[in-house]
């Protein structure tokens, strides 16, 4: 089975004083989350599409999905307190409702990346059916500098540097086994889901993203996103 999991667990702490989590803010007259879901429902290979949101926003998310999306594969699920816990809540939902099989895969995606394309989704599906884990990346444009205490420790060669986006896609059994092997401290500090598999020694395949597949995190991002979208006349 091929699952999609849209991670809408963010609380919007980086969006300034806006009280509503960023995935629910409006872009081109629709909540950002809905734009993202709309792209996933166009892929017929998904057996189920989970939208994992904060517990406090469960009914709000369900209301939005009912209002805008008419696809029985879409299910709203309560997430956890941080990213990887939210990811694993979705996996638990899959286990409890569909069972787990060796070849089950999940394509996970940030709700706040609504500019995802069908090509990127397709490349993730193709890649994760042949690899245990997949990350979507774009080559780094800026030079990446590694530093601490206001001093540069290293300047890695730019041609080997990429910026991580989503989707991140996993063979579900590999993901569960890799996650269970982590210490509690690692589970709390890991900000990237692919690193769960990397730490467990699993190879992670890279697929090409797009620069415009950016994450709407700050008020600036939302202004850029709004400026990018044209309405069909």
């Amino acid at each position: 089975m091929i699952y999609a999991q849209i991670l809408a667990g963010g609380k919007g702490t980086r969006m300034g004083n806006v009280p509503m989590p960023k995935q629910f803010l409006s872009l081109a007259d629709k909540p950002i989350l809905i734009h993202t879901i709309e792209k996933f429902v166009l892929e017929s290979r998904f057996d189920a599409i989970l939208v994992v949101c904060p517990a406090d926003w469960l009914s709000h998310t369900q209301d939005l999905v009912s209002k805008y999306v008419s696809d029985e594969r879409v299910h709203v699920v309560t997430g956890g307190s941080e990213r990887n816990e939210t990811l694993m809540k979705g996996i638990e939902y899959i286990r409890d409702n569909y069972g787990l099989h060796d070849d089950d895969v999940v394509i996970t995606h940030d709700a706040v990346r609504p500019f995802i394309t069908s090509r990127i989704i397709n490349d993730n599906i193709e890649a994760v059916l042949a690899n245990p884990a997949v990350d979507t990346v774009v080559p780094a444009i800026d030079t990446i500098v590694q530093g601490s205490e206001e001093k540069i420790d290293d300047i890695p060669v730019r041609s080997t540097m990429y910026q991580g986006q989503t989707p991140q896609s996993f063979n579900i059994k590999t993901l569960i086994e890799s996650y269970e092997a982590l210490s509690d401290a690692q589970k709390e500090t890991l900000s990237d889901s692919c690193k769960i598999c990397l730490l467990a020694g699993q190879p992670v395949k890279m697929v090409r993203g797009e620069n415009f597949n950016f994450k709407i995190t700050t008020p600036y991002d939302l202004r850029v996103a709004t400026a990018l979208v044209e309405t069909r006349s």
Binding site: H35, E38, L42, S118, R208, L228, V229, E230, R232
Partner: protein
């Protein structure tokens, strides 16, 4: 739905633009799969249209020949994955006399209205037609051009006198080849003669009864009816030869697009009672007829598969540019992109 549209913004320069699409119950969402390049697209790509035209029409997504897979049909009439031909002409009214492709209010894709170079194409329900599953996908990409040939030959049948003995086609390029294959189906009893400038291209017309180089046509040769498929600067010479070699009261269908006005020997047109009839583009009825011909005639499909020239998968804007550049030096056949952008 947020859709990524790949538009030509200036000669040889494409940019991606996000467009918020509204999908109504009367629409179908199609993921383009195979797209075929037309000379009209190349004239935009190379910037060889008049500057005023480019300023007026760009930015615009190119391509009006293509097939795709249905990804969403709000009414559920088309299953996801169904291969469909997309009809580029989009009429906004109907007229009892004027066909949809001649209505001034109709919008035509890749001519002032976004073509098929998009992540998804949102089309009105009546602008898609299912393509049989056993059709070659690359050949299916230029069904639109087949429908244009059908439209031209339908106009010929409606206009011409009763003499079907010989039909002459001027032009050994893609349109000439497609129209010639259709003549064999629509006028099976007629003798088919092809007039072209390149022997190596005329050699592909093995199904024609005769082929002639345009500088070596016997002076006394006559055709009953004619179709002009050259376009560009070749139109003038082709029309002059048609007037010279067509029988009195014959009909010539003009299908080749010329950028500049061309001179026509109207004295001879009048003296011989000739009919020159122009045709352009096509409508849904022509697509239906084209698909009917192709379904019933595997040999026509095979001949058209031989017209597939350059093929390549494109995934990035650079791939698209390279593909258009490659088509410019492609000697024979249609250039078909596998669309994976």
């Amino acid at each position: 739905m947020l859709n990524q549209v790949y538009r030509l913004v200036a000669a040889r320069q494409f940019e991606v633009q996000t467009v918020a699409e509204e999908v109504t119950a009367n629409d179908i969402v199609v993921r383009p799969r195979y797209l075929s390049v037309c000379h009209a697209d190349q004239r935009y790509f190379t910037g060889s249209r008049p500057q005023a035209t480019l300023r007026q029409k760009l930015p615009m997504a190119l391509i009006h020949e293509g097939v795709g897979e249905v990804v969403n049909d709000p009414k559920g009439e088309f299953k996801p994955g169904t291969l469909v031909a997309m009809i580029p002409n989009t009429p906004s009214e109907t007229d009892p006399i004027i066909k949809e492709n001649y209505l001034p209010t109709s919008k035509f894709r890749s001519s002032g209205f976004d073509g098929f170079m998009q992540e998804f194409v949102v089309l009105r329900r009546d602008r898609v037609i299912e393509v049989p599953a056993d059709f070659d996908h690359e050949m299916s990409a230029f069904i639109e051009m087949v429908s244009v040939g059908v439209h031209g030959l339908t106009a010929l049948a409606d206009t011409m006198d009763a003499d079907k003995t010989t039909i002459g086609i001027w032009g050994d390029g893609n349109l000439g080849y497609i129209t010639a294959t259709l003549v064999k189906q629509l006028f099976p009893e007629s003798q088919l003669m092809i007039f072209g400038r390149h022997q190596s291209k005329l050699d592909y017309f093995s199904f024609a009864d005769k082929t002639y180089l345009v500088d070596d046509i016997p002076a006394d040769l006559k055709v009953s009816q004619a179709v002009e498929c050259t376009g560009g600067r070749g139109s003038e010479q082709a029309i002059a030869q048609i007037i010279q070699h067509i029988k009195p009261m014959g009909t010539a269908i003009l299908m080749g697009v010329s950028e500049d006005p061309v001179g026509i020997d109207t004295r001879s047109v009048l003296a011989e009672g000739l009919t020159l009839r122009g045709t352009s583009r096509s409508g849904r009825v022509d697509f239906e007829k084209a698909l009917d011909i192709l379904t019933k005639s595997p040999v026509t499909r095979e001949r058209l598969q031989n017209l597939v020239g350059l093929t390549r998968k494109v995934s990035t804007i650079q791939d698209i540019i390279d593909f258009f550049e490659g088509d410019l030096t492609n000697y024979w056949g249609k250039a078909v992109m596998e669309w994976d952008v």
